[in-house]
């Protein structure tokens, strides 16, 4: 299969303008005749649904939560990047583009990233106009800060709740369209299958999570904005309900899955305390602006941190990366934290933690300034751990946070199934092998507010779509498959809970396809995962019935899909014989332990095609070319 990225053949800075001009427009009077399904109501989904509704399309929007406002974008803390250069510190669209391509370790499509950097400007304008209460300076203008891995201050923020405020902006715009009758919202509905008719995405099958009813919805096209698959690790910073089911079912219906092994482990999360742990909490990476990361120099040093003298502390990031210090990109910070803990120098119970210390910042800036910058984060930390970070250094450890991989999309954000568009974290498009801090919010909103509204119109105007409704046999057969799958899960009536299996799967994936990977480990995982999956289908116990509110059943379906996805992740990680960004293969590293890319053989997007239960997936490659940023060994020294 040839993967056509459909990137415009013009210089990069003209590409998006050119594409917008090339695209066909839908007659304004005809827009109301088109039905569009949006699955997911996070930044990408809510902004797309609101904007498409505003343009006059009939939109149906689905989310599994009880309200669209609860999508997990809400938990993003640190900020959103934009190349406004309000600080006059040398930022530009090109620099944001350059930083993102480099931060992604040269595994992203240049043209997509450039467009993202361009659109970052519009996003901030849009959000401010909606009333997002970004931080301000005393003169009333917008405040910025520098954020993980950037040497300019281009991050806009609303305390430690930037994601919440941006999502509420999009949610409010969405509710405005709900009131106007342009968007119909289906909360507590989970998409369980994609319906493809004559090779085009024409609808979805959902389960009403209150009544358990299986329902079909038809449309002229489907947009998936269902987020990432970080919960494959069980413990992650994702919300408990975040799942890969929508993108996984789309994959099984023919959409290619790109770079599944590109997952991001966030360096600053609160460490695990016990077996019962249900999720990990992120501490915004903005803390690294003022906090210093260290561990004791000596192995097994159990003294409390304030009794360890300065010369017995190892500020390992500052030592190894003098230019970037504590602000190195996430993958670098995470791997180094793991390395010092593996050496036996980790702190806290279990030894898997490093200190993030504000002592010096408090001394330099005063407690008040620190309180203003990070007050809510410090409160959150204290609430969870019972320790006061103004006095005792925080303990942090990396955790699964974001997945760069996702469904393959072209420049128009369309997958390999015509009529299936994918936005936000659910697609693979802009972050390459590693995402920079404060770029996820930017991508979600760029996709939803500014890209899909154009490309979706082009698709509708360029294709003659037959009228389809839910009486079509394809809906019946998809519904039957969904019902059969549910019945199978309920009928196992085994002895182990869904969570116990998910925890076991998560540990396996974390150990062998987490922060660092080896061919040997991946092969082991590829043997173990199918075994565990078989056991799952033999021994899982899902209490209750299908036709009712049943949270165990919801989880059971999601975990069944995670099993399959985990295998594809390992397969992808095993095939990619190089290290890049979040994908660190121990066999491929420089003498100082940095990721060693192999541009001659692996400078491509790996897109996997489903070929049935009994066949291995097929690998397709989209070669990546770099005309504007020359691939180089990333160096943050």
């Amino acid at each position: 299969m040839e993967l056509n990225s459909k990137v415009p053949d013009v210089p990069i800075e003209q590409a998006w303008d050119r594409r917008k001009f090339e695209m066909k427009l839908v007659n304004p009077a005809n827009k109301r005749k088109y039905n569009i399904i949006v699955v997911g109501s996070g930044l990408a989904g809510a902004s797309a649904a609101a904007t498409l509704g505003e343009l006059g399309y009939n939109v149906q929007c689905f989310c599994y939560q009880d309200s669209p406002r609860r999508a997990h974008s809400i938990a993003a803390q640190g900020g959103i990047n934009a190349a406004k250069n309000y600080q006059n510190d040398g930022d530009s669209v090109f620099r944001l583009f350059y930083d993102t391509v480099k931060g992604g370790d040269f595994r992203a499509r240049e043209y997509n990233v450039y467009r993202l950097a361009q659109l970052s400007l519009n996003i901030i304008d849009q959000c401010v106009a909606q009333g997002v209460p970004f931080a301000r300076e005393y003169g009333g203008l917008l405040e910025n800060r520098s954020f993980g891995g950037a040497q300019v201050s281009r991050t806009f923020y609303a305390r430690g709740q930037t994601g919440q405020q941006l999502l509420l902006g999009a949610y409010q715009a969405l509710q405005r369209q709900v009131a106007a009758g342009q968007v119909k919202m289906y909360a507590r509905h989970e998409m369980l299958d994609l319906v493809v008719i004559d090779g085009r995405a024409r609808g979805i099958v959902t389960r009403d999570l209150i009544t358990g009813r299986i329902e079909s919805y038809a449309a002229d096209l489907v947009i998936l904005a269902t987020g990432g698959y970080g919960n494959v690790y069980y413990l992650s910073t994702n919300a408990k309900g975040c799942n890969a089911t929508a993108i996984w079912r789309a994959y099984k219906r023919g959409a290619l899955f790109a770079n599944p092994c590109f997952t991001q482990i966030h360096p600053t999360c609160i460490p695990v305390t016990g077996e019962y742990q249900s999720k990990l909490t992120l501490m915004s990476e903005s803390l690294r602006n003022d906090g210093r990361i260290w561990v004791p120099k000596r192995k097994g040093d159990t003294r409390p941190p304030d009794e360890i003298p300065e010369d017995e502390r190892d500020y390992f990031l500052e030592r190894k990366y003098p230019a970037f210090g504590n602000l190195v990109p996430r993958d670098v910070a995470s791997r180094n934290a793991k390395a010092v803990c593996d050496e036996g120098r980790g702190v806290g119970p279990g030894g898997y933690g490093v200190y993030l210390d504000f002592r010096d910042a408090i001394k330099r800036l005063g407690r008040e300034v620190i309180e203003e910058r990070y007050g809510n984060l410090f409160d959150m930390y204290e609430r969870i751990t019972g320790e006061d970070p103004y006095r005792v250094p925080m303990r942090i450890y990396p955790a699964s946070h974001y997945t760069m991989g996702g469904l393959w999309v072209d420049y128009n954000l369309m997958s390999t199934i015509p009529g299936l568009f994918v936005a936000g974290e659910a697609n693979f498009s802009d972050h390459g092998a590693n995402r920079l801090g404060a770029s996820a919010l930017m991508q979600g909103l760029a996709d939803g507010y500014f890209i899909l509204p154009y490309t979706v119109g082009d698709y509708l105007a360029s294709n003659k779509l037959e009228k389809v409704d839910t009486t079509h046999p394809a809906f019946r057969s998809a519904e039957a498959e969904v019902a059969c799958n549910i019945k199978r899960l309920l009928d196992v009536r085994g002895s182990r809970s869904v969570d116990s299996f998910h925890r076991e799967l998560g540990k396996l994936v974390w150990d062998y396809c987490g922060m660092s990977r080896t061919a040997e480990g991946l092969k082991y995982a590829l043997k173990k995962i199918p075994e565990l999956r078989e056991q799952y289908w033999r021994e899982v116990r899902v209490p209750g019935e299908s036709e009712e509110f049943n949270q165990s059943l919801e989880k059971a379906g999601r975990v069944a899909d995670f099993f399959e996805l985990a295998e594809l992740m390992c397969l992808d990680a095993l095939h990619r014989n190089e290290s890049c960004g979040g994908h660190f293969r121990e066999e491929y590293q420089t003498p100082d332990g940095e990721a060693l890319r192999n541009d001659d053989e692996y400078c491509y997007v790996a897109a996997w095609e489903y070929r049935g239960e009994d066949n291995a997936p097929a690998l397709h490659k989209e070669p990546l070319t770099f005309k504007y940023v020359q691939p180089a060994q990333r160096s943050y020294k």
Partner: protein
């Protein structure tokens, strides 16, 4: 530690429901309250019983999905904390806890501790936004906002719509929730053109949904996990009265539909 739990079990909206006693054993002080319930649920599943249904998602206190009453207090004994962030170190061995869903006529129970809060979405849909077409915004720095206003707006915008305010209010009022959005948008220059209409439309919708009225008791503020202040209710009343007095309100936002009498709600 070991605890005795009395949990509201209700199979569905039609079931009358009842309290059921459970024992939570070997609970670690580091667990969150929801992790404690996870442990209880794992035991129930092992015994072949149905686990306790409760809403939850982010488990970091920001999505607003979780929440129930613990011994009569919304989100339990810790101030400024949702149940997902409430840790068991605040309880002691042998404690007996009564766990019930949100109490409000406007939040009907779906199952066990899960309630329907869609009324909140409809209040926002009535006017809790600034109408700005995508792509039509001026440069972000074109309108300076005094830092004090931005901070106050952010204080109000921190609301997570969990519903604790309603659940704790003896009147079942949603004034803190509604006031928080009216205050957030009303404090910003961008929010001025629609300020009157917004206040009236949202208050009218709030009344329609069956929420009670605010009589300044202050229970809402006491249990709000985001510590939103009663001031937002004062701002709501002020905006509402201003709109009603000056006659500049247009409830429902649609010129072509007959306007509702703005004070109708208050007279009921």
């Amino acid at each position: 530690m070991n605890l005795i739990l009395h949990v509201w079990r209700q199979k569905n909206a039609k079931d009358p429901g009842r309290m059921v006693r459970y024992e939570a054993r070997n609970i670690s002080a580091h667990m969150s309250f929801l992790e404690m319930l996870d442990v209880v649920n794992e035991e129930l599943i092992a015994r072949g019983e149905e686990p306790i249904a409760f809403d939850h998602d982010c488990r970091e206190g920001i999505c607003g999905m979780c929440g129930f009453m613990i011994n009569g207090v919304a989100h339990g004994p810790e101030r400024g904390t949702t149940v997902c962030q409430l840790h068991m170190r605040h309880f002691k061995d042998g404690d007996e806890l009564y766990i019930e869903p949100w109490r409000s006529r406007a939040f009907p129970v779906i199952k066990d501790l899960v309630v329907d809060r869609s009324a909140f979405d409809r209040i926002i849909a009535a006017g809790g936004y600034i109408s700005v077409r995508t792509g039509s915004a001026p440069d972000a720095n074109a309108i300076p906002v005094p830092k004090e206003n931005a901070e106050l707006a952010m204080d109000a915008a921190a609301c997570i719509a969990c519903g604790a305010c309603v659940a704790q209010c003896p009147n079942g009022s949603a004034a803190l929730f509604t006031g928080a959005k009216i205050a957030h948008l009303g404090l910003l220059p961008q929010g001025q053109p629609e300020r009157d209409r917004r206040a009236v439309a949202m208050v009218v919708q709030m009344t329609k949904e069956g929420f009670g009225h605010c009589t300044n008791i202050g229970e809402c503020e006491a249990v709000c996990p985001k510590e939103i202040k009663l001031d937002v209710i004062a701002r709501m009343h002020r905006d509402y009265l201003h709109a009603a007095w000056t006659g500049r309100q247009k409830p429902g936002f649609r010129e072509d539909q007959p306007a509702e009498e703005p004070m109708a709600g208050n007279r009921r």
